[in-house]
Amino acid sequence: MTERVLEVTGLHAKHGRHPVLRGVDLHVAKGEWFCLLGPNGVGKSTLLNCITGRMRVDTGQVSVCGHSMLAQPVEAKRWLGTACAPEQLPGLLTGRQCLELYAAAKGLASIDIELTQIAAQLCFTPFMDRCVDTYSLGTRQKLAVLLALLGDPALIVLDEAFNGLDPASAMTLKRLLRVRLSDLRCAVLLATHSLDIVEHHADTAALMLDGRVARQWNHTEIAGLRSLGNDGIEAALAAAAGSMSR
């Protein structure tokens, strides 16, 4: 059996008094690209925030590489690579300062030369010494992704990380993630609305509705939906959502 990088069991979380997650269970194995789908406001970002330790959970367990995010948050976070929302990046720091500070916060002894190469492939190098508040949305997104890749993390958590990226950069990023996954260096958990990514890259996809995982498709099922043509995945999502609402 492939090693499990992320295990979430019975996760409940609230925004104030409003319950957002109502018992989420999922697991992600090393080498797996896991896509989280669902309409706006069903709790995808909240789930990612709980997994990355940004938000406290009410009940349930989140375990990253065998370390509980509740009991051993520091150990669990060592294995994580998270792309924050572009608007959360510090506007007064340069891209270089962000990367160096984030690497120090992750306790890295050095920054791998591979990251500099990825920055060059994403055409980010010219922006390295400019302040973040001068960046466009796409450039901020590139920096957020670079921060997530720092230190070769075992679990890469991305929240709509392809939004705002130009097609060439998006393709480069997908290829980079695919290489890391095929080398079994990491697992990817991506919240997205892009069905194209699910169709061509996902190993597992889960549909979230009303704070729960309503339906999950494995690699074989996704391949089956792909063979149905352009609307296969869209129709499957609509059918799953429809059956839940009835």
Binding site: G53, R54, K77, P90, L92, Q97, E100, L101, A103, A105
Partner: protein, 310 residues
Amino acid sequence: MRRAGRIEAIGVATLIVALAVAAIFIAGRFDLTAWPATLRDYWLLIFAQATLHSSTSVARRHRRAVANWPESWLAAAPLPSASVRLAHAIDSFTTLVVQYLPACFLLLAIAAAGRNLHAAKIPLIALTVGCVAGSIVAWRWPGRHRHETREASRYTPSMAATESALQPSDRALSHWPIARAISTGRPENARLLFLFVTLFAMQSGISALEGLVVLLLWTLAGYLVSLLIAVVSVANEAARWLRSTPLRWMGFALPLVRRALLHQAIGTTIAAAGTVATGVSWLQALSVSGLWLILVIVTSSVASLLSYRP
């Protein structure tokens, strides 16, 4: 998000409480009851300062309100223009009113404590007339939208482009509050200080050198206060950004306050020397400086402690 907001509110509340305690301590140590009578002699200065402050504050907020209106979610709604103007007026004047009322209250309270309410009359009239005059001018001629659209980082010390390899470093965390403090106090607003000191020199008949010392102290005090506020706000922002990393509290708090504390220590020493040069005794200068540094250390520690969560 709610927790972050709560932490921010606690941080701001801590700062306000700390400032209030410091104010009570200073008020207790020094007799302030003669202030209204002293201020009476400086009515022109009060009037000029109130006019300048109200005109720049209202004009800036008015320009921003007008510039932001097309992006408002109500921009396409068929609202009467009078309602829109009223909304802009509330937006433009609220801050000034919030500043004006406590200033009046403070002045009256000090005068009442000295059983000489009459002494506060002229400073109050000068303050009120200045605020009203500045507001009318700013509302009628708000000027052009110039500086508001500039990125905040334009005001931070420039970073030289470097070809060196990336290395993990927490230096940026130390640099961040300084950058925030400098970008908050935009230097183009400093020109008003020169007018202030000129007026001060004109009315009180002090020398140009003394005027320069007052200007230096004013600028320095503004920077030190902005730096303290910057540490509190950066602590929140940085903690939120770095929350998904395995950073420990010491690794967070020390770099955050290191450089800011150094600036505070140097700035406070210069300010103490400046106040001594204007005739204040060494003992008074030292006690106020010490109190300020204690306030800085306590506020910075509390802010980093409240913001951080493993």
